[in-house]
């Protein structure tokens, strides 16, 4: 039983997070930036669930992993940078800058997936993932800052929990990365990254309760 939860615990929590956030999305009335954040977040969890299903079912887990790692990495950049541009109140002309930024950042991701496949090792994706996560954590912090300082906090309470969860997720993944673990001679391994994901999923799942409490108390 313990072994089962060790292997599938993260995937089970992932499905629960998707279900509960989807229910929240269906039951609540959201608009603007908050609606977009929740929708993007549900799609993000949905891609992970699909990735997990294929990882379990497929014999070629290397290829499935590389394809979905590239998809989720580009999607995370799209999600967080898109919301960041929107919280910066950019004009329509900035949508071109957004596309250029995503394109520049997508090049190393695609290159890393190809190099990992051709060189038969995971070093390229480990390296690119590390740099991406730093950028994504900075992006999440900027979004939280903008939400707290410019937008109405209570109206965007879901976005706040989503992005604070992302900050936790990316922060812990930086600690779990090769570069950091090798430099401080900690035992680097997959389990550390899995715990990082587990903690973030528990946070996102638990935040549903706080959102419900805060919304029922202050916004009803």
């Amino acid at each position: 039983m313990i072994n089962f939860f060790n292997i599938y615990g993260t995937a089970i929590l992932r499905v629960l997070t998707l279900i509960f956030w989807f229910l929240l999305f269906r039951k609540g009335k959201f608009q603007g930036l908050n609606l977009l954040s929740i929708r993007f977040f549900i799609i993000f969890q949905g891609i992970f669930v699909l990735w997990n299903i294929l990882m379990v079912l497929s014999d070629k887990s290397n290829i499935v992993y590389l394809i979905f790692w590239a998809i989720i990495s580009v999607y995370e950049l799209f999600f967080i940078i898109n919301i960041m541009f929107k919280t910066l109140n950019t004009t329509k002309s900035h949508s071109e800058i957004f596309i250029i930024t995503i394109s520049i950042l997508a090049i190393p991701i695609i290159l890393a997936a190809i190099l990992s496949y051709t060189n038969r090792n995971y070093n390229p994706i480990n390296t690119t993932d590390f740099y991406n996560i730093i950028l994504l954590m900075l992006g999440s912090v900027i979004v939280i800052h903008n939400l707290l300082s410019r937008e109405s906090f209570l109206e965007n309470i879901e976005s706040f929990f989503i992005f604070s969860g992302f900050t936790l997720y990316f922060g812990l993944h930086i600690l779990a990365s090769n570069a950091f673990l090798l430099s401080v001679k900690l035992i680097g391994y997959w389990n550390f990254a899995q715990y990082a994901t587990l903690i973030s999923l528990i946070y996102w799942l638990g935040s549903i309760f706080f959102i419900w409490k805060i919304r029922s108390r202050h916004l009803s």
């Binding site: 993260t10 995937a11 990735w51 997990n52 990882m55 379990v56 887990s61 290397n62 499935v64 992993y65 979905f68 790692w69 989720i72 990495s73 940078i81 910066l88 950019t90 004009t91 900035h94 800058i97 250029i100 930024t101 520049i104 950042l105 090049i107 190393p108 290159l111 890393a112 190099l115 060189n119 038969r120 090792n121 995971y122 070093n123 390229p124 994706i125 480990n126 390296t127 690119t128 993932d129 740099y131 991406n132 996560i133 730093i134 950028l135 900075l138 993944h173 779990a176 990365s177 090769n178 673990l181 090798l182 035992i187 680097g188 391994y189 997959w190 550390f192 990254a193 899995q194 994901t197």
Partner: protein, 88 residues
């Protein structure tokens, strides 16, 4: 606003360049050493991918049983009983 846009573009460009440079520098390493210390892959994902075919050894868990010795609260891990007895 123009300043913020330029900063975002510069950060994106610098990080991409740094990422490609580091990646190309390290991509020739075999996964043998990394897999031996069980850090072959630690990018995002809920399930670890299978090791590549050129990795012919099983993952070694460094530190042996030390890791399982004490997992309670505390900032500094206590020594093992055997180690202390040896010192005495």
């Amino acid at each position: 606003m123009k300043r913020i846009t330029i900063i975002i573009l510069v950060v994106a460009f610098v990080l991409s360049a740094l990422s490609v440079w580091s990646m190309l520098k390290n991509c020739q390493d075999t996964s043998f050493k990394a897999y031996a210390s069980s850090i072959e892959c630690n990018a995002q994902g809920d399930f670890m991918p299978a090791p590549y075919d050129n990795t012919l050894i099983a993952p070694v868990k460094p530190n042996g049983n030390n890791e399982l010795f004490c997992s309670m609260q505390g900032d500094i891990m206590p020594k093992g009983w055997d180690e202390e007895e040896e010192e005495d």
